[in-house]
């Protein structure tokens, strides 16, 4: 009996140990997780930002001043120390995020999240994310100086990781029960690939091909025109292009491949976008140029940006960094300021590949060419490693084949992507950080490959400029709109547009430059620019704002950032209200109709108009494009701009008809049908939640990077704006870094982002900017001119070389 008891109690003890030491489903290992001396309770603290830390490899002392926003101001004696310190300090505040993003980029989430992430991981591997990072490293290695800086950054991150005890691991590691691995230059490259995918990883070639096959060329061109009936391009229309002496690639005789494909890989959210603008001295209240930028990205916690100041005896720069990348990405130094919006160019194309009998060769130029195999090993937590063998052609990886999203035995679809070409993106930013004038800025841009950006510029000398910069293929008219035959050399990218011929403008007559993801140029530009989902609303609001008066001050800039005017709604809703048959509306519907009529087209938080518009237009859009809802066929419906154009100008078109009903509907019928559905839904919201005011309807939130974990996220952020509005804050994306820089000497700047400097959910600095950001407020950016602590410094930490 006593032995039985012994055995039983032993089993119980072992059992409780096992239960509390292991992760079950989403429940963390509770013993590890909750014990006060190494569990989450150890993360219940703000970061230490004082004292002295010794770091191996430093040449000299580095001073890090923190201000009240927890922005580190790093003062180093040389460049290598600067980037070593940048790596160390970034890791100190954002380690889990920077590592997680590179896991996501590399298709390695299965390692930490298990089998559920396998499809995602395969997709990223097949997209060639790791391959692309390897190509980038090759290019980066050619430049020994920037590679040296990168290595210093990498060592800095590793110095931080190496001194961590398990109790110090960021809380997410404890939650998921894993630990940080060593940082590497490859991780830097992967982070940049992550950005390239986010901003230049999208295309609609396959969807367009399906649409062309289903509707024919004439209908396709009506729905997806190269240019809309209005264009307000990034580079002003009056620009003279006569200096360009390289022709566009002539059109060969090439027929698109009209295959049908059911599903495609995930695309970046097409709503990602950004604004930037700058006014010249003549248009500025102070005669100093003023520049603003607000990249619209996913609203996540920890935020995508980490703000810092980087100082050496030779340069002094301030702005937003990407954790995992060198230098300042959007910011200013003593002489210049710069920023980016996405240039949205078509740099992803698809080629149909015909394989030989055993699938080891593919047809090209009337011969068989060998494929190269790349075996991707995907480790899965708690499971055996999954191996995916991916065939590469000279175009790029065969993403879709019989092993992935396709059932064709002897065919596949290869991806040609600028992300695989490789580039030394970091060189551009290193140089921008040190630029003193327009010439330096221009020189910095020449290194930049992808993702193509509208680089805006302003200097203390008074210059303003904007370059649409990226390595962009010189395509023949129409090239890459649809799937191309991969066996024909004429379908390959023939050349790139010479960098000097990328569209640009310097000190234009109108006194301002701006971009908001719209068409880069109008028809006069001599190279082919495919309409890759260009924006058509924010740009017009911004440009008309700057044409509205002679002088602009900082308050005007703030007002424009926070401008909630819904141009899109104002271009359709009055027409709908006027043309809809209202005789059949119920009393309740009439109330909503009157509310819609009273709306002045501002998406302010307390308005109900924006919610009515969103519902009404949303239902209407789905009714118009019911033809695009085809089982087993990947299709993208036309743009908002073209939809509104058709509703107003071609209301009798066959597309307006709802296929399901016997009746032949017109646009006007749809207005009423959509309104009734929208009203029913709005009344439902009202009965459930009390009202459908915009703030409530939209429910903006900043979700934690780990699948929006509610405990670490912020919900119901009270901010207006929305899709296609200058204040582009929608449910989960929006202005991720609002910056205004006046080019005084030294520059005076404001900035804010929806998050906080700390990546630790236990820190008060984790999300402390969100309320001010939502209220349209800014923080003064303390651009320190020397390492002497001023009264804005709340604490100082010194990094010292480790004694040998």
């Amino acid at each position: 009996m006593k032995y039985l008891k012994l055995l039983f109690s032993f089993a119980l003890a072992l059992g409780i140990f096992f239960t509390l030491n292991n992760k079950f489903g989403s429940i963390p290992p509770l013993g590890k997780f909750l014990n006060p001396y190494s569990g989450v309770w150890q993360n219940e603290a703000d970061e230490s930002i004082s004292g002295e830390i010794s770091i191996p490899g430093l040449k000299d002392k580095v001073t890090v001043h923190y201000d009240a926003q927890l922005i580190p101001h790093i003062f180093a004696q040389n460049d290598l120390d600067l980037y070593r310190a940048q790596g160390y300090i970034t890791a100190k505040h954002r380690l889990w995020q920077m590592e997680f993003q590179t896991y996501a980029a590399a298709g390695r989430l299965s390692e930490i999240l298990g089998e559920n992430a396998l499809t995602y991981d395969r997709q990223e591997r097949r997209r060639g994310m790791v391959y692309g990072a390897e190509q980038a490293i090759k290019k980066m290695s050619e430049d020994t100086e920037s590679m040296g800086f990168t290595e210093a950054y990498v060592d800095g991150v590793n110095s931080y990781i190496n001194q961590l005890k398990s109790k110090d691991f960021p809380v997410e590691y404890k939650l998921l029960n894993y630990k940080p691995e060593a940082w590497s230059t490859k991780k830097n490259a992967l982070l940049l690939m992550y950005m390239t995918k986010m901003l230049a990883g999208g295309d609609e070639d396959i969807e367009n091909t399906n649409a062309l096959r289903l509707f024919g060329k004439e209908r396709f061109d009506l729905l997806f025109p190269d240019f809309f009936d209005v264009t307000e391009p990034v580079i002003p229309k009056e620009t003279d292009w006569s200096f360009i002496d390289v022709p566009q690639t002539p059109v060969p005789f090439s027929k698109p491949v009209l295959d049908s494909i059911a599903t495609t890989i995930d695309k970046p959210d097409p709503n990602y976008g950004s604004n930037n603008w700058a006014v010249s001295g003549e248009k500025s209240y102070s005669e100093n140029a003023i520049l603003a930028n607000d990249p619209h990205l996913g609203l996540n916690l920890p935020s995508i940006w980490f703000v810092m100041q980087l100082h050496t005896p030779n340069h002094n720069v301030f702005g937003a960094t990407l954790p995992g990348a060198l230098a300042i990405i959007i910011g200013f130094n003593e002489y210049i300021s710069w920023g980016q919006t996405n240039a949205t160019r078509d740099v992803v194309d698809w080629y149909k590949i015909e394989f030989n009998e055993d699938g080891t060769k593919y047809r090209y130029n009337n011969a068989w060419k060998d494929v190269t195999y790349r075996i991707e090993e995907i480790k899965i937590k708690g499971k055996a490693t999954f191996k995916d063998s991916i065939r590469y052609t000279h175009h790029g990886p065969v993403v879709y084949d019989k092993n992935f999203k396709s059932d064709r035995e002897k065919a596949g679809y290869a991806m040609k992507w600028i992300g695989h070409v490789g580039g030394n993106t970091q060189r551009t930013f290193l140089n921008l950080n040190r630029s003193k004038n327009y010439t330096d800025y221009l020189q910095a841009l020449t290194h930049y490959v992808a993702p193509a950006q509208n680089f805006i510029f302003a200097s203390t000398e008074g210059d303003i400029a904007l370059w649409v910069q990226g390595k962009l293929p010189n395509k023949w008219e129409g090239q890459g709109k649809f799937i191309m035959d991969g066996s024909q050399p004429k379908n390959d990218w023939q050349s790139y547009i010479p960098q000097a011929f990328n569209a640009h403008t310097k000190n234009p007559e109108r006194g301002f430059v701006s971009s908001a993801n719209q068409h880069p140029v109008d028809e006069a530009y001599p190279f082919y620019v495919f309409n890759d989902g260009f924006e058509t609303y924010r740009n017009r609001v911004i440009n008309s704002y700057f044409s509205s008066k002679d002088k602009f001050n900082i308050q005007d800039f703030k007002d424009l950032h926070n401008n909630n005017f819904n141009l899109k709604a104002s271009e359709l809703m009055p027409y709908m209200l006027e043309n809809m048959d209202t005789s059949e509306l119920t009393l309740e519907e009439k109330v909503i109709f009157d509310q819609a009529k009273a709306w002045k087209y501002n998406n302010d938080i307390h308005e109900v108009g924006p919610s009515i518009w969103r519902q009404w237009y949303g239902k209407l859009y789905n009714m118009v494009w019911d033809e695009f809802d085809v089982e087993g066929t990947a299709l993208d419906a036309p743009s908002t701009y073209q939809t509104i154009y058709l509703l107003k100008n071609k209301g009798e078109d066959a597309f307006m008809d709802i296929l399901e009903t016997p009746k032949t509907e017109t646009a006007k019928d749809l207005f009423l049908l959509a309104f009734k559905e929208a009203a029913a839904h709005l009344m439902e919201i009202k009965s459930e939640e009390g009202n459908y005011r915009w703030v409530n309807y939209k429910g903006t939130y900043a979700g934690h990077l780990l699948q929006g974990l509610p405990a670490f996220s912020r919900f119901d952020i009270p901010i207006g704006g929305g899709r296609n509005i200058v204040n582009a804050t929608s449910e989960n994306w929006g202005p991720s870094w609002r910056m205004i820089v006046e080019m005084t000497s030294p520059p005076t700047a404001l900035g804010i982002y929806p998050g906080g400097q700390s990546g630790n959910p236990g820190s008060k600095y984790y999300d402390n900017f969100i309320d001010d950001w939502a209220a349209g407020k800014y923080h003064q950016l303390n651009f320190l001119q020397s390492d002497v602590a001023t009264d804005v410094v709340i604490s100082t930490q010194t990094l010292t070389p480790t004694k040998e």
Partner: protein
């Protein structure tokens, strides 16, 4: 009663010392060892180390968390989910530690019984 108090204090002291160089399960070792060195009777075998570690973990958690306005505890109490109450999280933390310690002590007692009878 004296033995209970001695065991109680010894368990906490040993647990604190072991926690400096062992992971979370050091409390199981602490309870096992004190159970062997300072034997207890009946329900006290379980409850003395249980209460000792509950107190140790709960108090330590409270000290860490209150110094930071329970910022993280409130979030973890949503995650687990405990309705966002940091106090409940502190209690659960204590109970988990106590449970592991108590069970380890019961095993220690059985070990003692077996070894003495032989």
């Amino acid at each position: 009663m004296r033995t209970n108090t001695t065991n109680f204090i010894a368990t906490i002291v040993l647990a604190i010392i072991l926690s400096l160089f062992l992971p979370w399960w050091s409390i199981m070792i602490a309870a096992l060892v004190t159970g062997l060195l300072i034997p207890l009777k009946k329900t006290a075998v379980f409850f003395t180390p249980f209460l000792a570690i509950l107190l140790f973990w709960a108090l330590y958690s409270y000290i860490l968390s209150s110094a930071n306005d329970f910022t993280l505890a409130k979030r973890i109490a949503i995650l687990l989910p405990l309705g966002g109450s940091p106090y409940l999280l502190i209690l659960i933390t204590g109970i988990i530690g106590g449970l592991a310690a108590g069970i380890a002590a019961v095993f220690g007692k059985q070990l003692l019984i077996v070894s003495k009878k032989i």
